[in-house]
């Protein structure tokens, strides 16, 4: 698959923006400037960015808390993300929910909620609607290795299989579910081994290679869109920080982290860009743009109003 310089720089932009925003949020967390917990996907950016870049604008995604990149590709603005973290009215939930628990159907993002794997059958339902209405759209459901132990994972995959739904499942296998390692999550080596039981194609790919994720998602999306049904893509990666920032992840062997640090998806992609002779000046321009957008986002969020207390009572029901 040939990916032109423009696309390469687009991937680079979203990878850097994702990493940069999350690094900034970690700092704000340490400074006590954000509310609540802090959940990032450091080291897993290639999965959300590579997959989301392979989709059509009207395809729907159901991301997780490790998928900021997919949100950004779908059009969430850095300032909205920061405002959400700071509990501001300008955040996507107007202060009703925190951190990465947001979505926006006008940008084709189904809001994430804390019970893992709940988004899988929900995304399948969106795909079902597209199928019923004969729209050439697909859904993409994200999950982690931990979520693959929940019933909703299996119920969602099976439903998608028997109804031949236009959906792609993307799993971040980051090897830890909070403190529980993969070996205590399942007795098979790969999450894809579980998915195989449902009778549609599965793939295991290098989740730290944005081009591999892009290529695999492009292929799976084409199959889904043409009526070929679901695909499950297991992206091997590593959770490089704690479950959230309160967690020092001391239970993860240091050597394992060192090994994966050498496979950092952004450093690897920068090497790829240089191998493909993308001009240094173009890369530098992306870096400068990203830094500015992050600082503007923090500034916007901190200047945004907090919600009024009485807004706590608003919006329980649609009218």
């Amino acid at each position: 698959m040939s990916v032109g310089t423009e696309d390469l720089l687009k991937f680079y932009y979203y990878l850097l923006l994702t990493r940069g925003l999350e690094d900034r949020v970690i700092k704000l967390y340490r400074q006590g400037r954000i509310l609540g917990g802090c959940y990032v996907g450091s080291g897993e950016e290639a999965i959300s960015v590579g997959s989301a870049c392979a989709l059509e604008p009207r395809d729907v995604i159901a991301p997780t808390h490790r998928d900021l990149g997919a949100h950004l590709v779908k059009g969430v603005q850095p300032k909205e993300y920061m405002a959400q973290y700071l509990g501001r009215r300008t955040g996507l939930t107007r202060g009703k929910d925190g951190n990465v628990h947001f979505g926006d159907l006008s940008r084709h993002i189904i809001g994430f909620i804390s019970p893992m794997a709940d988004g899988i059958p929900v995304a399948a339902g969106a795909a079902l609607a597209f199928k019923i209405r004969r729209e050439p759209r697909i859904a993409v459901a994200y999950c982690g290795d931990g979520a693959s132990s929940r019933g909703d994972f299996h119920e969602g995959l099976n439903l998608a299989a028997v109804l031949t739904l236009p959906i792609v499942f993307i799993c971040h296998n980051n090897q830890y579910a909070y403190s529980v390692p993969l070996s205590r999550q399942m007795a098979v080596p790969h999450v894809a081994d579980r998915a195989k039981a449902y009778g549609f194609p599965t793939r295991i790919i290098d989740g730290n290679d944005v081009l591999a994720v892009y290529e695999a998602t492009t292929e799976a999306a084409a199959r889904a869109r043409s009526g070929g049904g679901p695909t499950f893509i297991e992206c091997k990666t590593m959770r490089m920080r704690g479950h959230a920032e309160h967690d020092d992840a001391s239970y993860v062997p240091r050597e394992l982290l060192e090994e994966w640090r050498r496979k950092d998806p952004i450093q690897r992609f920068e090497r790829t860009l240089r191998e493909r002779e993308v001009p240094e000046a173009s890369m530098r321009a992306v870096q400068v743009r990203v830094l500015k957008e992050i600082e503007d986002a923090v500034d916007f969020a901190e200047k945004s109003p907090l919600p009024d207390a009485h807004e706590a009572l608003e919006g329980v029901f649609a009218t």
């Binding site: 729907v60 159901a62 996507l92 939930t93 107007r94 009703k96 929910d97 628990h101 947001f102 979505g103 926006d104 159907l105 189904i110 809001g111 909620i113 804390s114 019970p115 709940d118 899988i120 059958p121 929900v122 995304a123 399948a124 339902g125 969106a126 795909a127 079902l128 609607a129 597209f130 199928k131 019923i132 859904a139 019933g151 909703d152 119920e155 969602g156 099976n158 439903l159 028997v162 109804l163 919006g315 329980v316 029901f317 649609a318 009218t319």
Partner: protein
């Protein structure tokens, strides 16, 4: 006006809504060729096709989740729980995903979960439960529980057209034991409005679902003894029509709340608290409750008969209240 069963009223509401709105579709177990465990959807597959009458795998959380997803992108799914008892398998999707979505993101989730509930059919602890209070306690859900064919039809149509997730509790005993007149033309009843099924000046009887029939029978017995009971049929459990409840209680000064679900933290507890707070000075007697005991629903006839409120037990409580 034609007289039809409660089951037929539900069937008609579904049929008419599907016929006039292509966004409406059905999901559930055995609802296709088999026509549903209670035959509500008999003939639907032939009329509307397998894309709109979807037999799902046995996976309640999965198909409720799918209904939520379809609702989010513009469909109007109606889910059939084969029995309300199995709704607990989908509890997380209902209370965490569907119920909270609009509050968080201001995006509507227009969907209905039909929940065939209730006892008196000797169906035991897993096919007789009344789960409605679980959902009334979860902000973001509407909960409907009609007692007559007329209400069942008009309220199901309103539930399907509502932009929020609605738990529609349809009482299994009433399917073939409740008959009534239903207009031949189109009508929709508003959610959130109780209905005074019988006027009276001495005691207010507040109930819903299958206990309405039993309550009306008890009220007739009381009338023969010169006690006039006013029966308030809640019809919608959330939002609760406190206006109608309080107006009746202020008129009679005595209240009996009856439900088939267990007493502790049930709908009756909430209503009693509202009355105590808002109508205390109008009360001539303590607010009484008659409900199921705090046990699972038992199977064998003497056990289930003991467990369930009925007309005789209601009449006995009404007598106590009348002489208070």
């Amino acid at each position: 006006m034609e007289e039809i069963t409660y089951l037929e009223a539900i069937r008609q509401a579904l049929w008419e809504e599907m016929d006039q709105d292509e966004r409406v579709f059905l999901l559930g177990e055995d609802i296709g060729a088999y026509g549903g465990a209670f035959k509500i959807t008999k003939g639907f597959l032939e009329k509307f096709g397998e894309e709109r009458v979807i037999d799902t795998p046995l996976a309640e959380s999965g198909f409720v989740g799918a209904a939520i997803g379809a609702a989010l992108v513009g469909m109007r799914p109606v889910v059939e729980m084969q029995f309300a008892d199995f709704i607990s398998c989908a509890f997380d999707q209902i209370v965490n995903m569907a119920a909270k979505h609009h509050y968080r993101l201001r995006e509507p989730v227009p969907m209905v979960i039909r929940a065939p509930y209730g006892g008196r059919l000797h169906a035991g602890p897993f096919h007789s439960q009344c789960p409605e209070a679980w959902f009334v306690h979860s902000p973001g859900l509407k909960v409907v529980a009609p007692s007559t064919p007329y209400d069942a039809k008009g309220l199901l149509k309103a539930s399907i057209r509502d932009p929020n997730p609605v738990i529609y509790c349809e009482h299994k005993y009433l399917y073939r034991h409740a008959k009534g007149e239903v207009p031949s033309g189109e009508y929709v009843l508003p959610l959130g409005e109780a209905d005074v099924k019988r006027q009276g000046s001495d005691i207010t009887l507040i109930t819903y679902g299958a206990m309405v029939q039993q309550g009306l029978e008890a009220a007739d017995q009381m009338s023969a003894q010169g006690i006039e009971v006013e029966l308030v049929d809640l019809r919608t459990l959330y939002p609760l029509d406190t206006e109608t409840i309080l107006a009746s209680v202020k008129k009679t000064g005595k209240t009996l709340i009856v439900h088939e679900a267990p007493q502790v933290c049930g709908i009756g507890a909430e209503i009693a608290a509202v009355i105590a707070q808002e109508a205390f000075r109008h009360l001539d007697a303590p607010v009484m409750r008659l409900t199921a005991p705090h046990t699972p629903v038992p199977f064998s006839s003497p056990l289930e008969d003991f467990y369930l409120p009925n007309a005789a037990k209601i009449a006995s409580k009404l007598k106590d209240l009348a002489s208070y």
